[in-house]
Symmetry: D2
Subunit: 335 residues, 4 copies
């Protein structure tokens, strides 16, 4: 029998992606929780697919036997909903930034609002399986990583751990994202005419995803320069990462470090020297693709890391976490 | 000395296009009327270009000596503002649909709201210079044509007048527009992620621009099928028009009819048989490009008409009307 | 044990789509036939996925036990390769136009080259399962339908059979396609800078897909006006179809005709009145989505039909045909 | 009387942009030199605009009284054509990379082909007016700068001259360009389906535009990391530039340095702190827009520089050089 999982925020881009991926998952059944509806135009299709809808309250979850809830909601909504769902016995994968940072102080410094659930924050497990896999199966509340930090940490942390990065010279992460990363709420900046044939930077050095990279890769703020930029594409993140290698490490050395670290990882793919990932290679997949180039005479290195912001950067990684939490095969529904 | 003209709605796409084109106009000076501002983020540029701003009221217009006002506003706002401006002695070119239709009844049938200025409606001159040029110079109030009807009427009316269209079989106008035609107000349907890699039909057979075609080309509703569709492009309208020719007229015959009718028109361009206009050819120009193909054995004809919806379909044509109203060269600023 | 199927032309867009879809098919194993390679840059990934490659000759097919070959090649190549593959005992699904038309004369009239395999042409079965399902399981050679005719015939034929279309007034099919329909071979007209922010018509009234519609829907050329147009999107076809209804048939009547005809079809989806399909709804699916609007006072009707040109318009339908030919579930790998 | 200037390569994107801009120039008349034609489909328009065509040889130039020739051709063609044109008495603005670098050795190291005109290379003047204005009026041969180096040098050199950049820590220039930068020749990598919804890096650390930045801004290769990347847009370059400031310089300090250096420059625009240029702001203009952000506690700085690659990055700057060479107002035709 399929196990029941529920989605809050199923009309947003991440929520809709959860629905899309889970319909090919062999072990779970999806329930939609009607918390904030998007107007309810009525069905376009004459025979719309039947997915169960429930009111978004603890009692309904309990009665329906929902084991796990995905919160594809803004941080404030996640902080409001999570406690009740946990009390109703459901486990929670939160896709917002509400439970990702180590302390309430850090949260309020970057998100510019107080954290209303500091106890849950202390309990939450950061859901980047490649680095936190052992704690995820037992977690009640998993904080699904941000899209930018997922691509950044997977590229940076193995090299820092291997000691081949000149930290003093600093790391530059020039990040570009598709527009779906900004969510589905209408706004002038995400309107078609503003985005098409355009490209722009925002939140320079101050993006709220920065502290997730500092935290996971153990970097100081002065060691890490990050710029977020809006690409005229629907989905995908590509980060171009610059640093200097130590000890004369070349591209092959970097790739061997990744290979060793990620030997058993199902969702990491490495590129041969001279080749680099692009967005199409990862679109609609849960892969993180990584390539590296080094100018060996000077040690200048460039690493490119690419993911689909809605899959490995949101819904796909959330399902990867769900699989781990429910004791299912980690790749189920994702390959 | 330059003559003063003012713009209401200069932050919208049509209004901004008026500003863009008029800055290359040698005879007029632009004043911006602050009616509805878009938040006022403050200037991005350290030395922003100096354009005079005025409050949007009749007294300010009078004192500043504004001769003509462009209303790049929704119909309801145009109906509200036009009377005061005319009383202040300014002439008006209205880019909305408020004053285009012949009667208040027709307006309320298609726009689903009452017309609050029926007297002005009776006075207004329809500003399609190719067919109404003689009445424009003397007009106080010009109703600038809709974007879709401009492309449609310029393609259809000469052929109807020449009697080469089988009216009984009907005319199909399959119209495609860039997203700027929907205006700058944020909405889900014009969000980048909804539009990119997509294409969709809307207002099928019921678009409020239909009566302008019926009126200008003297067609009955049953003779004219019109579908509006949203292209994933910023600007441009292309209409593919289907009908049957009478009397064995072929492509060359249609082109000769256009050539005769438009011999002295500066903004009409015709294509050789076998070639057809596309959006790039008219982008950022005030041209309407027309091509024709006929299968002579059956009389099935296809005419393609293309304009830039923000130029010949809005701001450019409004300036063409302004030139006529102010006694300037009709093409000034537009070639 | 998985059954072996092979692909010629796997580097083209349709061929690559066959590979993409078949990797989720539970019953077959894919072999790639190296007929025309695209330069062979070497693998980008350090651990590229292992797919078996074979030379493209009958003997290799026989030895490998290939049961069925997909030809994702131009018509001339398909005519050259098909005979040898059939003699090697493989069955063939040809995605080109080589074997779709009833006679060699019709082929040479529309494709402007002689047909070199008239006997195979006579034997070939047209692979539109919704209308030719019974003949497909026994076929040695299936001609996979063109992308445009698939969307057109699925929308038009049920209405013609039901007698609700005024044939004398004619049917207009205004078709728009994504650029992948033009194939992967570099050309100026499919270059990014030529296509982005553009829209253009081509092959007006003369597209080589027209005779497939005439043949399948039993229309005379004079009854059917067809224009192909290039959308600035990667994939998808949307056709806006205009005609007049007979006997006062309204939108609900048309939808009921479709519902009756397609009651058991897994890949047809119908839209409620007032709603219409768009490209996103069918992207990367094997669905054909259909909606209808009728102005009941005049009988003017508009039907919109949408497919993904690379799936239901090419690779997906080819796999649907393969499933039927191999006695597998028709939807396997496609839902 | 208008002075005659000629264009070789008028069918390419830069050449066509020269034609487009020069038709609004009040002082020159354009002649097209037919060197390599693009197939010659015949005119689409029934009344094509009359531009004089001439064979591309010295004698024709002399007879027609052409004063100046734009070479919008690949480097090898420019090296082949320039000598004859100079001998015919015409001055030359070359838009290729043929004459930009200081020595033939440097040229062959980065372009991987020998330089066949070293004497002309020695004579050529680098045409970046903001830094080389005094030598341009007297030059016979001007090497029009590359698109990437134009945006980079205008942003970097004033700061280096002012001594506020920590050279030891290095400068990172993450550059993104529209597809027109790759030219109009069909290729797989610039095909619509490969570019749309994609983003990719190329020529990492090895782009042939790098030495122009090193040369103009006096940087050593190890001080400058440059990555070129392909945006899914037609035109525009945006460069995100990272470095560390010295002496505690903040954003306002950087902006004041730019303001002082560019006080009299007509084509440089600066952004207020907190605002950054984007592609739309510079599209179809000859402006270079610059903004700056600094985290003052750590000295990490980000500068964004944006141009239109076909205007300030090619045709516009070439016309700016022409204006200087012919003694015309530098901004003629460009504002």
């Amino acid at each position: 029998m399929r196990r029941k999982v529920a989605i809050v925020g199923y009309t947003g881009y991440s929520g809709a992606e959860l629905v899309r991926i889970l319909q090919h998952h062999s072990q779970v059944e999806v329930v939609l929780l009607d918390h904030r509806e998007d107007g309810g135009q009525g069905a376009a299709l004459r025979k719309p697919k039947d997915l169960q809808h429930l009111p978004c309250d603890p009692e309904s979850l309990r009665r329906a036997g929902v084991e796990l809830v995905f919160l594809a909601t803004p941080p404030a909504v996640s902080m409001e909903l999570a406690p009740g769902m946990l009390q109703a016995g459901a486990r929670v994968v939160d896709l917002s930034g509400a439970f990702r940072l180590g302390t309430a102080e850090n949260y309020s410094a970057w998100y510019r609002e107080p954290h209303t659930q500091p106890k849950l924050l202390a309990e939450a497990v950061y859901g980047l399986p490649e680095f936190c896999r052992e704690r995820i199966p037992g977690a009640r509340l998993v904080a699904n990583p941000g899209c930018y930090p997922t691509a950044a940490n997977l590229a940076i942390r193995p090299l820092l751990e291997a000691g081949v990065v000149d930290r003093a010279a600093g790391i530059v992460c020039d990040a570009k994202s598709g527009v779906s990363g900004a969510g589905r709420k209408p706004s002038l900046t995400t309107g078609f005419c503003e985005v098409t044939e355009n490209f722009s930077a925002y939140s320079i050095l101050k993006h709220r995803h920065v502290p997730e990279v500092l935290q996971v890769s153990s970097l100081a703020e002065r060691e890490f320069s990050f710029t977020a930029q809006l690409l005229p594409v629907d989905r995908g993140i590509l980060e171009t990462i610059y640093f200097r290698t130590t000890g004369g490490a070349g591209a092959e050395d970097l790739l061997r470090i990744y290979e060793a670290r990620y030997a058993d990882e199902p969702f990491l793919r490495l590129y041969n020297p001279g080749r680099m990932p692009d967005l199409r290679a990862v679109a609609r997949t849960n892969f993180c693709d990584i390539g590296a180039t080094v100018d060996s005479s000077t040690g200048r290195a460039v690493v490119v890391s690419a993911i689909d912001n809605l899959v490995k950067g949101a819904a796909g990684q959330a399902i990867q976490n769900m699989n781990l939490m429910l004791g299912l095969a980690e790749t189920e529904g994702l390959l």
